[in-house]
Each structure stands twice: as structure tokens, then as C-alpha cells.
Symmetry: D2
Subunit: 395 residues, 4 copies
Amino acid sequence: MTATPTPADKFTFGLWTVGWQARDPFGDPTRAPIDPVVTVHRLADLGAYGVTFHDEDLIPFGSDDTSRDDHIKRFRAALDETGLAVPMVTTNLFTHPVFKDGGFTSNDRTVRRYALRKVMRNMDLAAELGAQTYVFWGGREGSETDAAKDVRAALDRYREGLDMLAQYSIDRGYGLRFAVEPKPNEPRGDILLPTVGHALAFISTLEHSDMVGVNPEVGHEQMSNLNFVHAISQALWQGKLFHIDLNGQHGPKFDQDLVFGHGDLLSAFFLVDLLENGGPGGAPAYEGPRHFDYKPMRTEDLDGVWASAAANMRTYLLLKERAAAFRADPEVQAAMTASKVGELAVPTLGEGESYEALLADASAYESFDADAVASRGYGFGRLDQLAVEHVLGAR
Amino acid sequence: MTATPTPADKFTFGLWTVGWQARDPFGDPTRAPIDPVVTVHRLADLGAYGVTFHDEDLIPFGSDDTSRDDHIKRFRAALDETGLAVPMVTTNLFTHPVFKDGGFTSNDRTVRRYALRKVMRNMDLAAELGAQTYVFWGGREGSETDAAKDVRAALDRYREGLDMLAQYSIDRGYGLRFAVEPKPNEPRGDILLPTVGHALAFISTLEHSDMVGVNPEVGHEQMSNLNFVHAISQALWQGKLFHIDLNGQHGPKFDQDLVFGHGDLLSAFFLVDLLENGGPGGAPAYEGPRHFDYKPMRTEDLDGVWASAAANMRTYLLLKERAAAFRADPEVQAAMTASKVGELAVPTLGEGESYEALLADASAYESFDADAVASRGYGFGRLDQLAVEHVLGAR
Amino acid sequence: MTATPTPADKFTFGLWTVGWQARDPFGDPTRAPIDPVVTVHRLADLGAYGVTFHDEDLIPFGSDDTSRDDHIKRFRAALDETGLAVPMVTTNLFTHPVFKDGGFTSNDRTVRRYALRKVMRNMDLAAELGAQTYVFWGGREGSETDAAKDVRAALDRYREGLDMLAQYSIDRGYGLRFAVEPKPNEPRGDILLPTVGHALAFISTLEHSDMVGVNPEVGHEQMSNLNFVHAISQALWQGKLFHIDLNGQHGPKFDQDLVFGHGDLLSAFFLVDLLENGGPGGAPAYEGPRHFDYKPMRTEDLDGVWASAAANMRTYLLLKERAAAFRADPEVQAAMTASKVGELAVPTLGEGESYEALLADASAYESFDADAVASRGYGFGRLDQLAVEHVLGAR
Amino acid sequence: MTATPTPADKFTFGLWTVGWQARDPFGDPTRAPIDPVVTVHRLADLGAYGVTFHDEDLIPFGSDDTSRDDHIKRFRAALDETGLAVPMVTTNLFTHPVFKDGGFTSNDRTVRRYALRKVMRNMDLAAELGAQTYVFWGGREGSETDAAKDVRAALDRYREGLDMLAQYSIDRGYGLRFAVEPKPNEPRGDILLPTVGHALAFISTLEHSDMVGVNPEVGHEQMSNLNFVHAISQALWQGKLFHIDLNGQHGPKFDQDLVFGHGDLLSAFFLVDLLENGGPGGAPAYEGPRHFDYKPMRTEDLDGVWASAAANMRTYLLLKERAAAFRADPEVQAAMTASKVGELAVPTLGEGESYEALLADASAYESFDADAVASRGYGFGRLDQLAVEHVLGAR
């Protein structure tokens, strides 16, 4: 079996994932905290490439400078011992009650100022640890009632914050790229920038929009029952897939953060196929970390935690194998041709053809036999079944 | 009662709305077709400002030129008699089987060429009738399986098509603005540009992006259980609310196209408040047509059809009254102040303040008392209840 | 304004509702605990009829007998002082980690035995305090993966538990009625008995099914985007609406527990109309407590908590006024006649008519003019609009 | 490869499935009708066991008796030639406009009478063709507004109709079992008996409830984002799984009717495991037809139609193979033991143990160490991953 992870696979995990203590809205924690140093070593043993964190995953809220330095020092030592990278860092702007109405978009200006400072401080650390990507998940930026939030003003403040922080990264030479992570709801009733689309649209308005992309999470887009593969395709198409969060979800309900592939398995297959093979495109579409942002189930003990971490990577690699076989299968290739999948890459206008030329082309309209063309089948069902059979390892 | 519509209210209806024959996936039509000339007269009688249409609503597919001219002539006469405007026109790229895999993004290039020609022909008519807005709803642009559609190539083709058509409008001096209408699914399993966000993001990549905005529909965004008022706010914030489709929907299910307000009534209230009052912003946010894109229930006869058309307008006007009263209520204003709603419009940085200055402001971080600030209540519940009571006409 | 609550309105609140400390999956508590004695007094001041609780709301987990008695004594004193009733009591089988795989249906038999004992102990207290209803919300009875739970065995155990506890109540002379509360998910990925329907079906199999009904919660049914008024109608029709939990929800997402009416306002109106007027039925359909199971928003302080409690009651009473006006409106009554709403109460067969007689009735089939009957409109849109206008206080 | 269907696999198809002409809410048909005789032969060639139909699939609405007899005669001949069975028949009470407000629960009593007659006539044919099961899908029994439908009266009429028809089947000696098919919405805004649970609950109230069960459809339950395997488990547990409709769906949206397994593949695996192996139960749980109620995609031609029919059966058989391997895998068995899956089949009370004995068992409560028990992991993640790997054919 080749499905054994190595650092070359670029698998990364957040400290908060395996470290989740399994406290939920109706229940107390079922697991003890894990020392980040232990996590680093265990992830390295399992074949991971790197580890990521929020400031508070590493340094408890309210730590003094001495304590902070000590936490960082121990963490760096573990990184050095294991060779684990820190490709991404992010900020916790959601746990402390001060952020109950958001960080960058709180109605309270003092909270907004505090949030910016908190981010800047952690960006310093991110740069120090060599991170390339800084993620912004605005989980508290939102509202429960439209009466209480001026959304246009909120977007102004969101932009103000990101513009300032981008300038800070540039001026300090940190070389960070920003990745905005969309989510439709939870913990707020409605969160701003709820989908990959809304985030991409917002990013297009930023002063330094070139250094800002998205960090889509499988389950977040699926909480709106949207097609995640379509969303990633659009993000790639706009050159904005800066990072990705892999996990599983069973449609519109609370944020489940299941192991990757343990939700919509077919979609997971097509996602891996897109990242690794470019889908029908033929070339790898994404080179960055494969980051798992999941939660080990609350029923599990520590052994179950590490087993679940391994399960994420193993499922990804199995799907990668199946996607490779799918693309290599001559029947699939023939079916794709029959379905004209590749023809969509051919421009609709001919080379140099103007709309005047199109208007003059009677075959395009005046003599076009719509009924005849309509009668042709596309053979999409055949392709779909071939994919299912490859997922099932049945070809 | 002031809730009587006049043309000054800018209410418009699609020919296909009242004209829907009530054929659904499981049932045959329950109503006869309505002559567009009759529709124009009835809408005018009811107080509407204008009427909109797809090419095929007016001119049956496959009509020859003589027949086409005749349909247009009769329609123009009715417009002249009634004074009804045609502020928006759009294309049917979804009914005929030839479009079963889409128009602009069909895998079949000949279909794409045909689609472009069909649009151009109808743009000529739109310009002739004085329309300002041309809507693009790509209901068939999508897929049922990720195996069969190269989404990045599809977005290339979508862009190619819109870029060419924009150039056509410019060159011909049509002065049209384009409005892309998002929808997540139905009739395709997944439609490209599924939400207002994805559409705005796509638009930012267009050659003539300045002349392209969105035409969001209440029910389409709510089919993904997204907050429509938030979506409209973002569209306004990006200067892209070029048109709007008003109706009702009960969450994620098939596209219901209910009468406006007959779905999520609180959201309808906040929407009208946003359009008419700018929400907390204080100034009207949208000046364009209030376009109803709904379907009279399949159980109704012709009397029911016209009653439902009137119901849309009346509900809008009643909500407008309540929104005005809400904004004028001193208790609401006091509650907004207590909730710091206006404070969000104040930049987070002071005038001319740099991030260096923010870093130097110890009150922002080093001496910021997070626990004390966290203990303050925002009073959002109070505002929400005041809104509910205004909706209920109880204040 | 008559919308001022009195005990005659039978409004009740759970201790855990106003007492929620606003800890959520991503955030720490924003409010301090409230002494149950304070809650009793505040609710009484606000006009409530009664208070309800889980064992652990009153008596912290692990309390010894002395401490337990003391908690109960203080609580009873507050009840005596205020006159507040305790019409319903329930058990917490979800917070402690021991219940992480459920109570009655945990795979671990020792947990199941412990759960039964915990319930029995609290039933003793419920009876002592004069409760009529004992609620069973099996929030942890479920699974995240179908591989790990034998659902049929789980239903056996669920039934075993309820059968035993029913016998216990009977034998002890407690006179309690049981009410099962359905929920589709959260905190488990999928919860057993996910809807009112599944719970009613399960109840029909119980040994003492006559003493077991349902306790439907607005938001729980709406998390599956099901029509709550339909569900309550079916529960009433089966004689099983033993209790009800009122709150608000915005469709399929995490459990929001908003103030009643602050989600789907039209549905809240029709619900109140059903409970108070029997809908079109003409007689009150439900006599029990109007129990609010909601959570004050996390952004609120203590003042906001009590304001939100009052808002629930006030919204209910305002909707009750509007429902009364709706039923009294002659135009509504005429529209109902036109829509044949009452004709549905007329049996399809005539009095004493057999199917043989129906077969012999040529007017029913052989000479039935389907097309003619099909052409009649039902006028449902008119009724819907009248309801909306009554909700808006516009008639 | 053993995944080749034979009649022993009991695969059946509705005439309306492969015969769907692909007319949808926004588009005209893309395929011609198929002669039922052709369908019978093609299904037989593909290895199916039987065929099912609505009256109108075989006999167009309004056919006279001669024409009717002719249709039946040709169909019977095809059945005789191929050996195909007709295990199930059902009635079309939804296509003709006369049923726009329902059949059994239309507000119009004459429609209800007509509907009963239409069913009786088709039951005669069902019996004549040897069907064992008669399905009732009440797709039009519902409403778009709560103002227009007295749901309790509707349930009275629904019951009246089913009681009468059951008596008719008994008296005529037809030996039919009835199967009610739930669906939450589409074509009505809300359909009565929206889920398996609501249908089971309703059935418990019928006069001849012993002869009435359910016909759950994968996609219908998933349109409410409910766990279909849980629903089937409850139906089996109540002895009510009389028939089943297999297909695929991508969560809460319009009714997709995809090929089986082409929606939620993991759930399809667990469903096949439940039907074939009884899940963890160890014995086949269902012996009836495996009925595919799906629609070939609208993009497909006739070749695609038959390919999609074959795909349903092949996917089922592949999943059956994987489920068998899953159950036979010693690692799976060991993991199930570790997860105490089988312990849930052990009654919570000991043999002959009363609640008094439970109360006297200090180990159950007084000396129960909740924290110690809580610390044990259930190992559910391990089981889940083993299942995923078996689905992927990776073990």
C-alpha cells in the first residue's frame, strides 16, 4: 500500500484540531489539553509536513511576556527536532468574550483597535517562524439581527483592517500572503463573507488585493449546500487559492469538522482530482499545504485522536491513487471525448473572429438546426458512473 | 390606506411571472397562456411602472421575421397606450433542449455560438425598446457531476461571452448595463455563479466590469439559506446592485417564487428598509426598478393571478411604511445609539493615524481591559424586538 | 396595549434559558451564572406562570445530599413566595462526558443504567414539586457514523428505558405524562427520533404509549426545514401535543434558540393561531404551558437577558391579538369559504356511504368533468395575503 | 467481476424512470416517449427482476376502455415474453390539473371522490397483474400557505381514504400491502407526511394499520438532510419497510433523482449493508424489491438512459460486495467489539431485573465513577475509517 504519508505530501494540521478538548454547545470537555510540543512530535511521527496555530493555541490569552517567550521557545525546539514547518498562522478573534460582536467589525471601536493589535503581534511571530500564509477567519464578524449591524460600514472596517495589516506585512518585509476563510454561520447567526464567492468579491476591492486570497474549508461551503469543487475551481481560476482546509460535513447543519472524506466522499474524490490533476485540466492545480481543519469526534480518547489524524492523510492518499487511475483509464478518456469535455477549452469565437464575423456566420444561427443538436446525448452519466467505480476501486 | 401602488414606486413584473402556466415537474399546466398585450394593460391598471421579458415570452421560439415583427408591434402599441416602461430585458437560454448543457458554457461549441447570437438579437430589441438593463441568468450553466464539466474552462467561456456582448453593446451605443443573476441550483444540479458573492467575484474579472453588476433574487440566495440583506448590502457596497428580483421562499428547497413577503417576512422588512432607507445608513440605497420575479400559485385561476400581482406591490408598500416608522421612532434611535450601530461607521484608525501610531497607543492593547469591555451588553435584542414590533404594526 | 403577560397566559421558562452563560463552540461564557432563586423572582415579576429545569440547572452535578436539599429548599421557598408553578421537569443526560455516546442508548450498558437512575431520582423531585410533565430530550442519543451504532438495538433500549420509567411513575403515583422532544442533530451528527414524526411513530410502540406524547420545539423542526405548524397539527391530531417549546430559528443551521417570532414570523403567527384558535378549526387546540426554550443572544448583558424574556411573551401576545382579528375578519371568512377550507372537514364518503355506493356513483368518476373542475381557482393566494396583512397590523 | 445483475437480485424500475422525457420546471422535453413494451424488454435484457408503474404510465389519462384494454394486453404480453414481474403499482394523483390541491385531501370533495375511484380502478389492475404492494405517494397532498389548509381535517380525509381502500383490497381478496411514500416538499410547498417518521406515525392510526407500511425514497429523506439509514432502521424496527425507492440526492434542494450512489456514497454503502447484512445485526433485513426511482439526466439520449439503468444496478452490487467484505473483515469485527457495538443489544436491565433492583444496585449510581467511565474512548473513528476504506476498495 502506498498510502503512507510523507512530508512531501505537504500535510499540515492545526494545533487546535487534534488538540480540541471536545467541549460542545451542550457538553463539557471529554479530553485533556495536549501540550503543543507533544502534538508536534506526534504529527511528525505520523508523516505530516507542518503544523499551524492561532496565537492562543500556543500562548494562553493573557500570558505575560516571559511566559509567552517560554511557550515559543519550547515550540521552536520541537519544530527543530522534528523538521516540521509552520506554513500558516492565524489569530484567535473569537474565544474571548470581548470579541462577542466581532473583531475587525465590532460595533465597539476599542474592540476593533484591540483586534488589530492582537493580529499584528501574532504576525510578528508568524514571520519569525517562517510562515508564508496568514489566515483570517472572521467567525465573529456578523450578526443575529439585521437591525443591529450596518453591513456596509462593517465591510468598510473589514477592508480598513486588512489594508492596514497588508501594509504592515509589506513594510516589515514579512512576505506573508493573506487568506480569508469564509463561513456562512456559527458562531454568529450570519457571518460576513459567507462563501468563497463573497470573500473573492470582497478581496477584489482591497488595496493590496494581489497579496490576498482565500482559505476555503470543505465543510463551510457545504454548510450552504454549495458545490465545493466548483468553489475551488473558481478560486483557482481567479488565482486566489492561497490555502485550503480539508475536512468532512453532512450538509446544512452545525459545523461538523469530520475527518476528510467522511462526509461527501464523491466530492472529496473530485476535489483531490482537481488539486492533484487539475481535474480535466491535466496539470496539478495547487501546490500549497493540504491542511486538515477537523475535529476528532467527542467520543474518542487520545488514541482515537491520533488515529483520526492518520485517517485524514490516508483517505487523501487513497483518493489521490483513485484519481490518478481515473485520469489514466482509456475508457474515461474516451468518455470525456464523447462528452466534449475538452471542447469547452476551445474559445467560442475563432482565433481573431470578431462579433461581426459571428453575426455573418449563418451556420451559427440562421441555418443552425437546434432540434438536431438538441437530440444529441452528452454521455455525462457514463462519466459519472466511471468516476463512482474508480472511487469504489472497482476498475 | 396609502399602500396603493403608482408608477412612481417603480414596480415592474416579468411577462413570465403572471404568465406562468403553472406547469411543474410533476404536473401539467393549470392555466392558459396570457397574451402579453393583456398583461401590459392589466399591470398598468394595477399601478405598475414597467414590464420585462425574455425573448421567448414575447416571440415564440422559431418565429419567422414577419411573425416576430408583428409580436413586437402589438407589444409596443400596448406600451404606448399604457405608458408602461421596459426597463429590463433578458434571454431565454434554458427552455429549448438545445441548451440542456448550458448556453455560454455548453460543452458543445456550436451551442455556445448559437447562444451568443440569440442574445445579440434580443439585445437589439432591448435597445429598441429603451431598456437600461440586460439580465443574464445562466440557469443551465452548470453540471450534475464534477466529472463532466471543466469549471475553469466554463468560466473562461462565460467571461468570453460577456466580454464580447459588452463590447457589442458599447459599439452599438445601446447603453445597456448587464446584470448577472445568481442561483445555486435548479434546473442544474449545481449552477455556476451560485450566489451573489460568486457572481460579484466573477464580474471583477471582466473586461468591462464597470458595466456589469448583479440582479440578485430573494429566493435564490435563500435557497442556500444565506442572508439576503447581507448579500444586497455587499452588492451595494461594491456599487453593483444594478437590478433586483423580489419574491418569497421558505429556505433550502425547490425554487418557490412566492409573492414578496410570503416567505421570510422579517427579512423582507429589512430588505425594504435597506432599499428605501439605506438601513441604518440613512439614505435610499437603490433607485432602480422593484422587480417582482415570482409565480402565482399553481392552485390559482386568472383572478388569483392578478390578485397575486397586486399582493406583491401592496406588501412592499406596507413594509415601506413600517420601515419608515421604524427609522423615525425615537426609541429605535436611542436603542441604536446604545448598540453603537453608528460607531461602526467611524474608522478604526483615527484621521491620519498610522499603524505605527496604533502600535504606540497603549490604551489600544497594553492597558486595554478586555474583561471590562467584554462585560458590556450590546443591546441587540432590544433592537430586534423593536423591529419585530414595527413589522407587526404594534408601535 | 393588552400585550402584557399574566400567569393566566401560562408562559413558562426553563432555568437554563435566561441562565445560559453564552458559552458556544467557539467562545467562552460572556455572562455570570444566575441564582435560580433570582430567576424565579424575575420571571414572576415579568408575568410568567411557571419555571422548568433540568436536575443540573438546580443542583450541580455531583452535589451531596445536604447540598442538594439546600438547593431544593431555597428554590421551593422562591416558588412559594412568587406563586410560580413548576409544570415540567427534565433531566440533563448530555453535559457530563459520561454521556458522550448517549444516555438510554449508549453502547456502554453501565452508562445506560446510570442514566435511568439519574432520571428516576429527578422524577422523584418533579413529582414532589407538582410537575405534570416530564420531558425527554435525547440530545446525545445518536451517532456520527452509521458504522458504530445499531439503530434498531438503540430503539430497543430507548423503549426499554421509557417503558420502565413509565411504570415507575405509575407505580409511585406520580401522575407524570412523558413528552419526547425531537431534534435532528447537534450535538450528535444525527440524533435518533429526529422529527416530530419519528418521535410520534416511536411512541406508538411503547407499552404505556397513552401517557407519552411529544414536546416539539419550533427551531428543531425548522432545522430540517420542515413546516412546524404542520408538525404540531399532526401531533394534535394524534392527541399527543403534551408540551411545546417556543423559540426562533433561521432554517437549517446550528440550533439558534432565538426569541419566539424572531425567526420565521409568518410561521409563528400561524402557530399561535393554531394553539389559540385551532386554526380554521375554531376552538383552542392546546391548553398547556407556552414554554419558551430560547437563549438570550451572546452579545447581551443581564439587562438584555430579562428584556429578551419579556420579548418572547410580548411577541406571543401580539400574535395572539392578530390571530384573533384574522379569524374575526369577515373578508377572511368569505375567502375561506371561497377556498373551501371548511369543506375538507366534510367526509369524502357520505354518511353511511360504502365504497360500493361510491363505485356506483357515476358523477364521481364516469361523468366527472376533470377539466372543468381543474379550471376552478382555489383562491389560496388571497387567504395568504390576508394573513400577511393581519400580521402586519394593516387591517 | 460479479457485479452483473440477475433477477435474483430483485432489481425493479418504474416505467416513469427510464421513460422520463426530461421536461423540467425551466425546460421542454429532451427525449421522446418510450413504449412501455420496449422498456419491459430492455429492462429484462439488463437483468432486472420487475417493472412498476402509475396508471398513466401505461394508460394515458382519458383513454377509453378499448384503448385501455389494448395497452394492458400489449404490456402483459411483454411481461410474459420476458418473465418480468410487476411487484408494485401506484396511482398518478398529481399530473392532471384537477389534482392541483391534492387527491385524498383536496379542499374540493368532488376531487377527493374522483381520486378514490381512480385508485380503486388501478388497484383492480394491480391485483390482476399480481402486484403485492400498492404505493401511495401523496405529492400533491399539502399546501403553500398555512392559511388555506386545515391539516387536521386533511389527515382525517387521508385516513378515511386509506381505510376505505384497505377494506376494498381485503374484501376483493387482492392481498395488497399498502406503502406510503413520504416527501417533504415539491411539488407542494409543504407536503403532508413529510418524512418516514411522520408517515409511520400516521400509519399507526389507521384501521388496518397492519397492512400499511412505508416506501421510503433515499432522496426524499435527504431533501430534509435527515439520515436515511436511520430512517430505514426505524421503519424496519417497526416492521414497516414494505418497499424502498433507491436513488441519489445532494442534500436540501430540488428532487434530483440521481442514479443510486451518485449522491451520498457513504450513506448508500451503509444502506446496502443494512438491507443485505442487517448492518451490525448480522441477518438480511429486507427481502423485497430493490426499486430504483431515479431519473436519467436531462442531458442524456436514449443510450444514456439505458446506461443509467445499468449503472444503478451495478453500483448496488458493488456496494453489496464491499459491505460483505466489511462485515467479514476481522479488523472490523475487533473494532466493533472495542466500540461495544454489540453491547447495545444487551438489555439495560438484567433478565428479570425490576426497577426496584436497579434502584438497589449501588454500582449503577451511588458508586458509579462517572469520570472514569467518561474517560474511555469509544473508537468510533476507527470503525468509520475502516468503512471508508472498504468503500474505496482499499482493504
